[in-house]
């Protein structure tokens, strides 16, 4: 409860109008970042403990990637070979959403809990994003697949040879070059 209570307290602080709108001083903003980061990492321990009970993976890492929104994930940056992605659906109903995982440009096979192959594609990250000099350049692509989750579901990602995989390939079109 210590971690969850700290998350609750931090979320209370984040309701302040300066935190909502970003009108706090920079040092305060940086401190808010620190508090939120510590609260999220702390609560990740609760999530991990819960998932170890809810799934049959008592030793699963259940790592979070806090920079997925900028196409970065330390867990998959060296290649997403034999990775299990566990999805938790916070909605009160089943939901179908597309999932994007930062990966290297390789061939992957995604399977669901019943071992069925799920269609997937590897899409390049825009070059402007890659051009950012302080961004890790290891993952230049994202693996995309569609997931349907009631509450908790897992999808397995395995690196395969191109001949083994039947997923559709991405076609690149540059209209001006074509003209």
């Amino acid at each position: 409860k210590i971690d969850l209570d700290y998350l609750r307290q931090v979320m209370g602080v984040m309701q302040h109008h300066d935190a909502i709108t970003g009108t706090e001083k920079q040092a305060v903003s940086d401190d808010y970042d620190r508090m939120m980061y510590e609260a999220i990492v702390g609560a990740s321990n609760n999530a991990r403990d819960a998932l170890r009970l809810l799934t049959n993976m008592p030793y699963g890492e259940f790592e979070s990637c806090l920079r997925l929104n900028i196409s970065e994930c330390a867990f998959t940056k060296d290649g997403a070979d034999n990775v299990l992605v566990t999805l938790y659906n916070p909605l009160a109903h089943s939901s179908t959403q597309y999932v994007r995982i930062p990966v290297k440009e390789e061939n992957y096979q995604v399977t669901d809990e019943k071992g069925r192959t799920v269609p997937s594609e590897v899409v390049p990250v825009p070059w402007q994003v890659l051009a950012l000099e302080y961004r890790s350049n290891d993952t230049q692509h994202e693996l995309v697949f569609k997931a349907t989750v009631n509450k908790v579901s897992s999808y397995s990602i395995k690196k395969v040879e191109s001949s083994e995989v039947k997923h559709s390939s991405i076609k690149k079109i540059n209209p001006r070059e074509d003209n």
């Binding site: 009108t23 890492e61 938790y88 594609e121 899409v123 070059w127 995309v144 209209p175």
Partner: protein
């Protein structure tokens, strides 16, 4: 060869090959000309609390470079607007919305002026100055351009920023037949400054502090440069019939509460999660 069509089973986008801009959208049985632009309001006196533009919007009028990536699950248009702005327009198979992932920054300050970067979408929907913004993700509030609900307003000194409202989840406009909605991933300022047009503030950087309380200019840096912001807007075009907002609300919940992702190594062992 003047346009590129990017479509799946539920959404059709038409890109203008010459300008590199979105030209029209077709979805939910509705087709509409929708042109997207990016622009900036320059300012000497905007600060963290206030948006006071010096003049009209400066639109980026150059042609955008763009490349299309087509797969069967996802189709993406990668646009390069200029040195500070790029965008991915994305449609997923079976999903009735258009995802626009923008990236803006570092905003240049060589001219010693502050900047409010915006993107706007112009359609031919006859909205007659009326648009709607959400009230903290709940009810939609009716807004009328240049007007206030409870008093006679004079917005002549700030005709642009006086029409901006907080948008925490969505902004919409419609006429008798069509409805255009933008959903966002964070609180932003939004307005409808012309009939059929929606505008969103996506990034800002300022050098002025007006003494209103914060005591600092809004001039965030990282690694010695201005911040780069990356986020998403979602565009939905639909018919303007009663009850359609239910779909918007469901979409909004999915966007605000996406799946949480957790990663584990399997070590090559087949695992069948319970």
């Amino acid at each position: 060869n003047s346009e590129t069509v990017v479509e799946n089973s539920v959404v059709k986008l038409v890109m203008d090959n010459h300008t590199g801009r979105l030209k029209s959208v077709e979805m939910n049985g509705v087709s509409e000309k929708i042109v997207q632009n990016f622009g900036v309001y320059k300012s000497h006196t905007s600060c963290a609390y206030t948006f006071r533009q010096d003049g009209d919007i400066e639109l980026f009028e150059n042609d955008f470079e763009f490349t299309v990536y087509e797969g069967s699950l996802v189709k993406e248009v990668h646009q390069h607007v200029n040195d500070w702005i790029s965008q991915v327009i994305r449609i997923y198979e079976g999903v009735s919305r258009v995802e626009l992932e923008w990236m803006v920054g570092p905003i240049p300050i060589d001219d010693k002026l502050g900047s409010e970067f915006v993107t706007n979408f112009k359609s031919e929907i006859s909205s007659n100055g009326v648009f709607y913004t959400d009230s903290n993700g709940r009810e939609l509030m009716k807004r009328v351009k240049d007007k206030r609900e409870d008093f006679v307003s004079d917005l002549s000194r700030q005709p642009v920023s006086g029409n901006f409202y907080p948008v925490t989840s969505r902004i919409a406009l419609q006429d008798d037949t069509k409805r255009l909605v933008l959903l966002n991933d964070r609180s932003q300022g939004g307005a409808s400054l012309e009939d059929g047009a929606l505008e969103m503030l996506i990034h800002r950087r300022h050098l002025f502090n007006d003494g209103g309380g914060v005591g600092e200019a809004l001039n965030e840096t990282q690694y010695g440069k201005g911040l780069i912001a990356r986020g998403k807007l979602y565009l939905i075009l639909d018919s303007a019939t009663d009850g359609d907002t239910v779909t918007e609300r469901k979409t909004e919940k999915e966007l605000f509460l996406p799946f949480w992702k957790f990663f584990s190594k399997t070590g090559g062992v087949e695992i069948t999660p319970s």
